[in-house]
Symmetry: C2
DNA sequence: AATCTGGGCTAAAACGTTTTAGTTCTTTTC
DNA sequence: GAAAAGAACTAAAACGTTTTAGCCCAGATT
């Protein structure tokens, strides 16, 4: 059984292909097709189970009503939630989302952009990796709008971005810890040149300065991006082994690192918050359920997704036109969720 | 800047469109295109940054090299991992995956199938909802292969399926609990008519019978599918409030229910495994990190993804041909992971 | 000298839509 | 009663590919 095309319907209904097309696209009235013909066509189409071929449609119109979403890793809770929120939001604007993971690999990201570009998506929402600026500029040059999420390129201010205010979030966390009297605050972050992580790190250092504390290199662990689980765990265990004496609090700068930290803390049988206060940037089910519950700086994931989609749709609407959109990164504020670990 | 098409290249290289197409598809040798022309075309294509338009290609060839993956909810750990594994596997066969979530809603699932069908995906991997059999038959009638995962339709044995051996998995878990001496084993499951959950429930009851224990209705909680988090939590809290006396163990039949259970247990300050032994079907990061760690029946997620993809590709290769594939559901065995909670 | 062979290409149709510019009637207008 | 206007449609081009059938020429064969 082959698929029914518009011309199958035309034949069966005894009208032309164009007429069928008009009826199917609600242009029948504008094109002055008579009541009877409209009904006739609609009936035949329904009977035959017609579904427009989107490839053909996209080829002809140049619009696929599809947007490409590139995240770091779809199986990570943060990105999975973000993806879901973007998908739901997209549906409101009648767009479909296709998503893929870069695993933070520059080359893979490039391949994905190519792949999506070949499939003619109308626009992109991208969690960029390093050095992706040029590739993204190319998309823009082809009139395909792009919105960055979670990260941004300070040097490319012509690419709009929606992200959490990382500096403010970490500052807020640090003020909380410092306000509670902790002074030997360890930091666990991930190795990367990307601006969003640099902002977080800067906020940590600035907070220490603000409170007149000299930073201690030995309290900062930068885990290499591609280190395996075991190696990373060992690093964190080493850092936290002096909990209670040289370290009285720890701030994990990502969700994943926090989970890793929990594992280390569990292994070391450290008492929280007695020996060690724990704070993590970005929430996770585990933090809510662990005993004790872990305080976090919570990113407004839904809002990021919605705002990103909104920004994209705005540009999608005016493709080609030379509208003056403001491209300053949109920064949403993160909340401090106080739980038992501090 | 517009996208470059094959005819832009043809013009610039001073050859015909067909020649360019042959070169781009490695058919140049077969078509006896000369060395020089091949090189010329390749150079021009590279310079101009040509990327074939997959819509046009798909329209012409009828193949999009894309498969549709429909899961219940992509932000659930189980499905996220499954999706990742299928995506990775698909890449090996040079297929791209587009995925979407049904939220277990029959109508939404139908919409998604339509949407994917309109986008002309070559094949489907589907976590079906109830009553989707007919829609799937229609896909098959259009020569689009379908493989079910995680669930299946016993009454539709012409639709291949890859899933865990649910009956065996739960039996194994029950034997473990019963072997440890637990007798008042509560069960928390989800309300559904789908066969995979019925199999799990049946395994529970059969195990009790096998051990000469009379089933007690009050020990079984069937939470309605669309109950909100709070309502479901209350249900489980009620069930477990008599832990230590009327209940000595609890078996959660899904990942999500297990997490919910942890929340309830935390709320009730129940001692595990002292007052209550806990076992869950399907693993989750939380179970590994919770104190105490929670024992689980672990599904071989990667293997399910790989096997499903393999099965699909096999059929994709022989579309149209009337090959005699065996369509008995492929059942993979689940492992018992012993942790501290039993 | 006519025919055949093969090498090296190209023309054109086709895939399923959308959309512009008609065409053919019928009715209105002056 | 001729021209204009309108109503109800249709023909055909275009989107960017792939692929079949064929063209043209050079050299080989009869």
């Amino acid at each position: 059984m082959k698929k029914v095309s518009i011309s199958d319907i035309a034949r069966k209904a005894g009208v032309s292909v164009s007429t069928v097309s008009f009826v199917m696209n609600d242009k029948a009235v504008k094109m002055r097709i008579s009541r009877e013909v409209i009904e006739k066509v609609e009936n035949v189409a329904r009977e035959m189970g017609y579904r427009p071929n989107q490839l053909a449609r996209g080829l002809r119109t140049g619009k696929t009503k599809t947007i490409g979403l590139i995240v770091e890793n779809i199986s990570n809770a943060f990105f999975a939630t973000l993806a879901k929120s973007i998908e739901d939001e997209a549906k409101k604007y009648d767009y479909k989302v296709v998503y893929c993971s870069t695993d933070n690999d520059e080359e893979k990201a490039r391949d994905l952009i190519n792949m999506l570009s070949q499939r003619q998506v109308d626009g992109y929402i991208i969690t960029p990796t390093l050095n992706l600026g040029e590739d993204i500029r190319r998309l823009q040059a082809e009139n395909k709008p792009v919105v960055l999420i979670d990260r941004y390129f300070p040097q490319h201010d012509e690419i709009p971005a929606v992200l959490v205010d990382n500096y403010e979030g970490v500052s807020r966390g640090m003020d909380y810890l410092l306000g509670k009297g902790y002074r030997k605050i360890a930091l666990v972050t991930i190795e990367t040149e990307m601006a969003h992580m640099k902002d977080r790190l800067r906020a940590y250092n600035d907070a220490l300065i603000r409170h007149g504390i000299t930073a201690d290199d030995r309290l900062v662990r930068i885990v290499p991006y591609n280190s395996d689980h075991e190696a990373a765990l060992t690093e964190v265990v080493k850092l936290l082994s002096s909990a209670g004496t040289d370290v009285d609090a720890v701030f994990f700068l990502t969700n994943y690192l926090g989970v890793l930290g929990i594992e280390a803390i569990k292994k070391l049988h450290i008492k929280i918050p007695g020996q060690l206060a724990v704070l993590c940037f970005d929430d996770n089910d585990i933090f809510r359920l662990y005993t004790p519950t872990i305080s976090v700086i919570r990113q407004p994931i839904e809002a990021i997704g919605q705002k990103a989609m909104f920004t994209l749709v705005e540009r999608l609407r005016h493709t080609g036109e030379d509208v003056n959109h403001s491209n300053a990164p949109i920064r949403l504020t993160a909340d401090l969720v106080k739980r038992e670990s501090v």
